[in-house]
């Protein structure tokens, strides 16, 4: 089977990987050490594999790796800035929003995609943005509270 080249920017750094043509993005990312991208269902239903591609939340289990050629991919590992946690990550810790933590990377990335586009979401908008991230531990309440708190914090930092 012939391998092909993939050039993609992941977490701000350009990568050149050798992939099989039919490989899925989830498998390639985990193979390359991005363990924060989780395998939960492989059918695009649970959102544990969520990553951002050019700023948009997608299920990496449904995307062929070859489709992100030349794109900007963000995984959870790329969110903290040199060890300094992103406000969403801090909020998740402050609000007890991570229990087992398996859905957490996907939730945080969905939240980031939302806040980047809509810095002042309503609770309903937060819930809609996170509806594709299933969680069996939290009942979603604390994660939603954490995202709203993070939005307020980011708004504060950015200023009027």
């Amino acid at each position: 089977m012939k391998m092909m080249d993939l050039r993609v920017t992941v977490n701000g750094r350009p990568r050149a990987w050798s992939i099989a043509p039919g490989e899925l993005l989830l498998d390639v990312l985990r193979r390359e050490g991005f363990f924060g991208v989780k395998r939960g269902c492989e059918q695009g239903e649970c959102g544990a594999c969520t990553v951002l591609v050019n700023g948009r939340a997608v299920n990496s289990c449904l995307m062929f790796a070859a489709q992100v050629e030349g794109c900007d991919v963000l995984t959870i590992e790329g969110l903290a800035d040199n060890g300094k946690l992103h406000p969403i990550q801090e909020a998740f810790l402050d609000h007890g929003a991570a229990q087992c933590g398996f859905c957490t990377p996907g939730m945080i990335l969905s939240a980031k995609a939302l806040l980047d586009r809509n810095p002042h979401p309503t609770e309903a908008e937060v819930r809609e943005a996170m509806a594709g991230n299933l969680c069996r531990c939290t009942g979603y309440l604390k994660p939603v509270e954490a995202v709203l708190a993070a939005a307020a914090r980011v708004a504060e930092e950015v200023g009027p």
Partner: protein, 775 residues
């Protein structure tokens, strides 16, 4: 009471940073050179004998390193239930067998260099089956002439294999016949509950390898590392000391991982191939090849006096454990022992048949028999209260078990054996009822039913429930602490944090007992080589039992710390105080030494390690109490039930970490909401799963959630560390009956079958309309 600086505070999870940054801390987050991929060939038939099985082609496939059938492995009867030895479940399971007892049962297993090769190898295994008639319907399992599922002579602890009865329970206190004769009103109803699946976001996964000294290492997503070790050693016929189980971070368990599920077969493939092997369930396999909740048919009968006092309650249950008897006796035992005694009836009777069927195997699932039982009981008392003209709140307050009461039924129903009587030493139930009722707006909403549009009707309903905290006389734990130069302590516990925050809570308990800040505790948990024994995370035992061990160990270590401090401060121990990382004299001059100084002195001057350990168990299981109030809106045109608000008030004893405790409640009620309304594992007439995926097995998403109110009503439990009981299971019991009762309040129909689907509501409304029309 000493002011508490760590216990009772909303501290951040000690493992939180790793989780929010996606650190590689879960089972699959390792790369082991030479690791193979293992897979099980599942039976396509619900009941069949393997007449011939040919593996030559599979073995010959390039990249295949092991192929196992029943001929290649030892035959050791066991249970997969993660329970203390001797496990009170039938020993009716085999690593690999020649008889298949459910669709998904293990035909064979392979280990290959990739997932694709493993899947190809499975396709190359030739199997000829003798297909047998199957028992699909549990009501047919005991019928004369029904196919016998466990006819193998070497299985043991089966109640009556000829009639497919895995377990049978009969317990009575007082005399219910007499009780019913004394009653002024008697109501008897039948209820049906269904298969719910845990759907942890992380499916079951195990990686095994042989360490350089030939010991079998098992890295697994498990709630029960120690039970796993014992069971795998027995099944693979190795000494326990040659098996090492490591529990990393777990992506949810909820009881589904209180099971030795993949570890034995993965270990067997490792031994056969001499290579590391990973086995993980796909989401589809997780649905029907893992475990699920026992379906039950419950017949409940209650007799009350005119004034509302319950005189007799009787519960008769038919349950199925599926193809194997994992947790068969104990889940169903709970349906009686944790449910009936909520009411102070002098006469109680519980009878249960747990039958085998050729269906997916049931097992432990949060609530452990209580969701089923409370659905029946709390729905029934709602009817009784109405018949008596009583507000259900009044009925509950009058009849519920109280502080100082003894629950005698528990003495009869322990973990499948004689239990111990239960004394209620802490009880916040009345306050739970009062606060949750107020939160939902009970008084105002009980009589107002019109929603914002004519076809929308609203109503409120309630349920009271209880659980246990650890299994009395059975669950036990141990903890070990050692001190470091910087005044910190390594805390080693066998306890399994499955995501609920046990590591954090246990660290808080240790810190509080030692008088240090939380950052001075570093915890390691769930490793059978390096942490002492713990039964594992189940039965709501971790805070009270593992925490009890931690507190004991900390107190012993504190004594050593104080002895050194006494030396340094030249003051007797009785005249010392401690806290905030230091020890000080209790006099006006207040001399102090900090933990670092104490540690350095002990290690480098006195030359000894400050360290100690302790074990702990309780002879009672203090119940946490819960009041659940639901407000629903019923769309009378579509039958859809929307829960507007769910208020849950829980008495967990003292909440060691209130924020985490709330999180447990919120997660539990969400599973309860799914249990009530949307979740059901469906199988066809041949025992094949119909919806083994999230597309058609519907769990609640963030957009489905009602408003949640969580109220902690703290009490002080003498048997718990710092007064704690438990909280992680009990809230799951309330939503189904509270919602069913709220639906009745809204539209006057009672649904006695779960899940409550729109079609069921519409059907009931239609039947009600017809009945009214014929009057």
């Amino acid at each position: 009471m000493r002011e508490r600086h760590v216990v009772g505070h909303n501290v951040r999870k000690v493992d939180g940073v790793a989780l929010v940054t996606g650190g590689p801390v879960f089972t699959d987050d390792v790369r082991i050179p030479g690791m193979l991929y293992g897979k099980i060939l599942p039976s396509p038939h619900a009941h069949a004998i393997v007449k011939h099985i040919h593996t030559a082609k599979a073995r010959a496939l390039a990249g295949v390193h092991a192929v196992l059938t029943y001929r290649d492995v030892p035959r050791v009867p066991h249970t997969t239930a993660g329970q203390a030895w001797p496990e009170p479940s039938p020993y009716d399971t085999y690593l690999l067998d020649s008889k298949m007892r459910f669709v998904g049962d293990r035909v064979a297993a392979v280990a290959a260099e990739s997932r694709a090769i493993a899947e190809e190898a499975l396709r190359l295994i030739d199997v000829e089956y003798d297909v047998l008639p199957a028992v699909i319907d549990m009501e047919q399992a005991m019928a004369p002439g029904a196919p016998v599922i466990h006819d193998e002579p070497d299985s043991t602890k089966i109640h009556d294999r000829s009639r497919n009865i895995a377990g049978y329970i009969l317990r009575e206190i007082g005399n219910v016949e007499e009780g019913f004769r004394e009653a002024d009103y008697i109501v008897e109803r039948e209820y049906r509950t269904h298969r719910q699946q845990h759907t942890p976001l992380e499916p079951h996964i195990t990686i095994c390898w042989l360490d350089p000294n030939g010991r079998l290492v098992i890295r697994s997503s498990t709630q029960v590392p120690y039970h796993c070790r014992r069971q795998v050693a027995m099944i693979l016929q190795m000494p326990v000391s040659r098996v090492h189980v490591i529990k990393p971070r777990i992506g949810g368990g909820f009881g589904g991982k209180q099971e030795m599920l993949l570890e034995d077969i993965c270990g067997a493939l490792t031994l056969a191939s001499r290579r590391p092997v990973k086995m993980e369930y796909t989401r589809e396999e997780e649905f029907y090849m893992a475990r699920s909740r026992h379906p039950q048919i419950l017949r409940m009968k209650m007799g009350v006096k005119r004034d509302g006092a319950v005189v007799a309650s009787q519960l008769t249950v038919l349950a199925t454990t599926g193809a194997y008897g994992s947790h068969a006796n104990t889940v169903q035992g709970n349906t009686g022992s944790k449910v009936l005694p909520l009411y102070r009836a002098p006469h109680m009777r519980f009878e249960c048949h747990v039958v085998y069927t050729n269906m997916p195997v049931a097992g432990a699932f949060r609530g452990y028999g209580c969701p089923q039982g409370f659905f029946a009981q709390e729905s029934l008392v709602d009817e009784i209260a109405e018949q008596l003209g009583m507000d259900p709140v009044e009925f509950h307050l009058q009849n519920a078990i109280r502080l100082g009461d003894t629950d005698k039924l528990s003495a009869q129903l322990g973990e499948g054996r004689e239990g111990l009587p239960r004394l209620v030493r802490s009880c916040g139930l009345p306050q739970c009822v009062e606060k949750a009722a107020a939160a939902i707006g009970w008084a105002e909403k009980r009589r107002v039913h019109n929603g914002p549009r004519p076809h929308l009707k609203r109503g409120v309903g309630m349920a009271c429930t209880m659980q246990g905290s650890g299994i009395a006389g059975v669950d036990w734990a141990s903890a070990f602490l050692k001190m470091n130069e910087d005044g910190s302590f390594f805390l080693q516990v066998g306890a399994s944090d499955v995501g609920g925050g046990a590591d954090t809570v246990l660290s808080q308990i240790a810190a509080e007992a030692l008088g240090v800040t939380l950052d001075k505790i570093v915890i390691a948990s769930g490793d059978t080589d390096t942490t002492p024994f713990d039964v594992g995370a189940y039965a709501s035992s971790t805070t009270i039992i593992s925490g009890g061990a931690v507190k004991k160990a900390a107190e012993k270590v504190l004594a050593q710390v104080l002895a050194v401090a006494a030396q340094l401060l030249e003051t007797p121990v009785e005249k010392l105080g401690w806290g905030n990382n230091e020890v000080f004299t209790l006099c006006e001059c207040r001399k102090a030494v900090n933990m670092t100084e104490i540690a350095m002195h002990a290690m480098y001057k006195e030359k000894f390690q400050i360290m100690d350990g302790a074990s702990h168990f309780n002879t009672d299981s203090p119940p946490p109490f819960c009041a659940t109030f639901a407000e629903v809106e019923v769309d009378t045109e579509t039958g859809q039930v929307r829960v507007l608000h769910l208020a849950t008030a829980v008495d967990p004893g003292v909440a060691v970490n209130p924020m985490q405790a709330e999180g447990q409640v919120e997660g539990a009620v969400t599973q309860g909401l799914g249990y009530a309304l949307t979740e059901e594992l469906l199988l066809d007439g041949a025992g094949r799963p119909l919806n083994p995926n999230f597309l058609d097995y519907k769990i609640f998403s963030a957009m489905d959630m009602p408003k949640l109110t969580t109220i902690l009503v703290e009490t002080d439990e003498p048997l718990g560390p710092f007064g704690a009981k438990s909280i992680s299971e009990v809230p799951i019991n309330g939503p189904a009956p509270a919602i069913a009762n709220a639906i009745y309040n809204a539209v006057g129909v009672r649904i006695r079958k779960l899940p409550i689907r729109p079609e069921d509501v519409l059907h009931a409304l239609g039947a009600q309309a017809e009945a009214c029309a014929t009057i």
